[in-house]
Assembly symmetry: C2
Homo-oligomer: 230 residues x 2
Amino acid sequence: MTIRMYDLAGADDRRRFSPYCWRVTMALAHKGLDFEAVPWRFTDKDAIAFSGQARVPVLVDGDRQVHDSWTIAEYLDETYPDRPLFDSEAAKGEALFIKHWTERVVHPGIARQVVADIPALLHENDVEYFVTSREKAYGMTLEEVVADADATLPAFQTSLAPLRETVKVNAFIGGAAPTYADYIVFGAFQWARCCSPRRLLAADDPVHAWRGRMLALHAGLAGKAVGYEA
Amino acid sequence: MTIRMYDLAGADDRRRFSPYCWRVTMALAHKGLDFEAVPWRFTDKDAIAFSGQARVPVLVDGDRQVHDSWTIAEYLDETYPDRPLFDSEAAKGEALFIKHWTERVVHPGIARQVVADIPALLHENDVEYFVTSREKAYGMTLEEVVADADATLPAFQTSLAPLRETVKVNAFIGGAAPTYADYIVFGAFQWARCCSPRRLLAADDPVHAWRGRMLALHAGLAGKAVGYEA
C-alpha cells in the first residue's frame, strides 16, 4: 500500500509550502519510497482527525500513523533502514541540534521576509485562520512583520554563517551526500521559495549553491515544485 | 613515544584556557591516549617554530606534526580509529556545522562576558601582546567590551537554545555518549571556566547540567582543571 503524507497546500493543490512537510517529502524521496502527498489545508481538521492531530505532516503507512516530522524521520529509518537519514547515533544527535537551530534562527528569519506573501496563496478557507493566528502570535499585522525586511535581510544572511561555512567545504551538511540535517534546513528555504518571489540569498552565496544542489536532488523533486525562481 | 600537545597556559602552568586546546585535550582523553600537554604562552613563538605555526594547539606524535584543532581531530581518528570522535561521515559534517556555530555564536558571546578577566591570569610576557591584539580587534578596551556584560547575558543564554534543546533530550550532543561536537562546544565553556569566576549559566539550565556531565568525563579531567567553580 502506498504511503500517504498529508501535506500543507495552498489554493493551488500543487503549491506545497510547509517547511516540516518538505522535510518529510525529501526524506521519502531519499529512501526511494513511493508515496502520495495528499493536499491538506489548515482548516481541514476533519481530514486528519483520525490521527489525533491538528497539524501536518501526518504519515499513514499501512496501519501505522505517524506525526511530527522528526518522529516520521525516525520511523522511516527504523522501518526502511536502507539509505539512512541518520547514518549514526551521533549524526542523529547533531541533526537534532541543527533542527533546533533551524527553528530558532532560520524560520523566524525567513518569516520576517516572506510571511506577508502567504495569505494570497492560501485556499480561501484558510486565509482568516492563517492571518488571525499569525498576527496574534506576532502582536502586529503581517505587513508590519515584513515592513523592515530590506533592513533585516543582511542580519538574516549573516545568521546563516554556520551553514555557509559548512557547505563551503562539503557539498552537503552531511558531507558528500545529503542526510536528514540537510532536509531540515532545506525545508525552510523551500517554504520560502514556494511562497514568495523574494530573493533571500545572493547568487554568489555558498548557501545559494547548496540550495541549488538540494533543488536538484531526487530527479529535481524540489526544484520542479510550484513556487518561485527566487 | 608519548604524544605532545602545546597547550596555552597562564602564569600558572596549570591554568590551561584555550577553547581550541581543550577540544584536543578532551579528544585525546576520549581515545584513551597518553599525552603530555606542554604549557605554552602566546609569546613562545620559538617553542613551536618547528611546526611553522604561531598558535596552538600543535600536536607532535612521533615524527608527525599536526596543527589546527579540527585537523588534529581528523588526524586522531585516522591514526587511532578506536573510540571515534566522528562516528560517521554525516556526524563529521554536522560537527563542522556545530564548530562554526560555536565560533560565531558561543565564542563571541562568552568573550563579551569574560575577556577582561584574562590579562590578570596571563604570564607577564603575554599581557601586552594579549591586551593590545584584542583591543585592536575590538576597537575598544577590554573593560569596554564587558561593560554591558550583565545586560547582554540574557541574550547570550538565549543564543544557546539549539544546544539547550538538544541536551534536554540527550545526555550529549552526540546522543548517549560524547563525540567531537560536544568537545567543540565544551571547549568554549571550559575556556570561560578557566579564566573567570563569572556565572554564565543558571543552575537549572539544561546546558549547565550538560556542562556538568562534560566536566565529569574521563575521570573528571576538565572538572579538576585549575579554574573557577562558575
